[in-house]
């Protein structure tokens, strides 16, 4: 048998190893019924490590998922908030649309000599001394003092002062705002003015009702048109209670206004040429 040179042993060893591995590959190709001892041992050794690795990995992934969910949750909350806001805006627009339709319908019932102008309420005087609101639009829109202000429910008041872009409206409740009126059915004349009740609330009263006239609760009070500030026939309110003090020659009645003064959002300024310009 020829002797191999010293340097050829490693080559032969590597070749033998490769052949051994190829045999091994061939033997373990495809599925087998039983695993070898080495495989079983190695797998059993690795199993807890693999399980731990998966567990850690899942925890990390869950951590990032929780973060993602939190972010998604925040984004969705933001979206819900935006949608709610949009919905509110839409409801607001729908309500405004309804109010404006009513105002439009109301203006169509007015005498043609009045030129209606819709104005938005932009301020409200909440103190006890005066009962006024501020509307958008002043001399720039042709508003003048004493122009009557109404809405679809009835008489609101009159313009008390005008600036270039805003106007102050004196409400019927205001003690300085007296309106010549009459009872719609009996045509009994009188004056509606604001007064402070014993409880401190502002109320409306119809005064100067002639003594012999019978006034029934529920009767409608309308403007009479006397005084040339307010047009005739505008609804003011209904009689709630009729009374008179001892020795009075006139009746007085408490009036429940048709207009809800706490919820005024748009009003109609009835423009005429009779107002006094002011800035």
């Amino acid at each position: 048998m020829p002797r191999l040179k010293k340097g050829k042993w490693p080559v032969l060893a590597i070749a033998a190893l490769i052949i051994l591995l190829l045999i091994c590959i061939h033997a373990t190709a495809g599925s087998r019924d039983r695993l070898s001892l080495a495989e079983r041992g190695f797998r059993d050794l690795m199993a807890p490590l693999q399980s731990g690795a998966i567990s850690v990995s899942e925890n990390l992934r869950d951590g990032s998922s929780a973060k993602k969910l939190a972010e998604e949750n925040a984004a969705l909350k933001e979206q819900v908030s935006a949608l709610q806001e949009a919905l509110m805006d839409q409801k607001e627009l729908a309500a405004e649309n309804k109010r404006l339709r009513l105002l439009l319908a109301y203006t169509e019932t007015l005498d043609e000599s009045w030129e209606p102008s819709v104005a938005r309420v932009i301020g409200r005087n909440t103190d006890n001394w005066y009962h006024t609101i501020t509307i958008k639009g002043g001399s720039n829109k042709g508003y003048r003092t004493n122009m009557p202000v109404v809405n679809s429910d009835g008489l609101v008041g009159r313009i008390s002062s005008v600036s270039r872009f805003t106007s102050e409206v004196m409400l019927l409740y205001d003690s300085d705002c007296a309106v010549a009126c009459l009872l719609e059915e009996s045509r009994t004349p009188g004056v509606v003015e604001g007064e402070l009740s014993a409880s401190g609330d502002a109320t409306l009263a119809m005064i100067h009702i002639p003594y012999g006239v019978e006034v029934m609760p529920g009767e409608t009070v309308i403007s009479s048109g006397l005084g040339e500030i307010f047009p005739a026939g505008i609804r003011i309110g209904s009689i709630v209670e009729v009374g008179s003090g001892a020795g009075d020659v006139m009746h007085r009645a408490t009036v429940d206004p048709f207009v809800d003064f706490d919820r005024l959002e748009e009003v109609i300024v009835l423009m005429t040429g009779t107002g006094e310009g002011e800035e």
């Binding site: 591995l21 061939h26 373990t28 190709a29 797998r43 490590l49 690795a53 998966i54 850690v56």
Partner: protein, 173 residues
């Protein structure tokens, strides 16, 4: 074998076992679609680059064997494929400066291609029917890119460790 050398081998073995156990989990965790890194491949690549072709080949064969034992099929194919990667990495490591951080990127990319191609050839010879085109397009290339991008960052760490006083080259495995 000195005690120090035995400790080094034990460290390597522990690292190998940890990465073997966690390879799929970690890869799955940082996977981007089909792009998942192959951490096991980096063992023979770094060993070859830092300690020469014999160390690379040995570490590769060890990694391949562990992989094969875990898979339980075609035992030996992984040994040869990964051994080849270690051998190649050792060869390329001798040709260039190992301080060049582009080196691990190239070695990892070529190594991944070499490993997968040789593994495919070996198992195909023994009856496996796996599409080469599909494997290359949907597995090897994405993994190759991800591993190659990751390799320089990990190489810096391994390089510093291997260059530390405790891991001097004179004590190479």
């Amino acid at each position: 074998m000195t005690q120090k050398r035995a400790v080094k081998l034990a460290i390597l073995a522990i690292l190998l076992v940890i990465f073997l156990a966690a390879n799929d989990s970690i890869a799955d965790l940082i996977r981007i679609g089909r792009f998942a890194p192959d951490f096991l491949l980096l063992f023979p690549v770094f060993a070859g680059l830092l300690r020469g072709r014999f160390a690379g080949c040995g570490v590769g064969a060890l990694v391949g064997l562990c992989h094969d034992l875990l898979i339980g099929r075609y035992i030996g194919a992984g040994v040869l494929a990964m051994g080849l990667v270690g051998l190649f990495s050792g060869w390329i490591g001798n040709k260039f400066f190992r301080e060049n951080y582009l080196l691990p990127m190239v070695a990892a990319a070529v190594g991944k291609l070499t490993a997968d191609l040789s593994y495919w050839v070996l198992i195909s010879i023994f009856g496996a029917k796996i599409s080469l085109k599909g494997t290359l397009l949907f597995y090897t290339l994405p993994s190759m890119l991800y591993t190659a991008i990751l390799a320089p960052f990990l190489y810096v760490l391994v390089y510093k460790l291997a260059d530390s006083r405790w891991f001097r080259e004179e004590d190479r495995f």
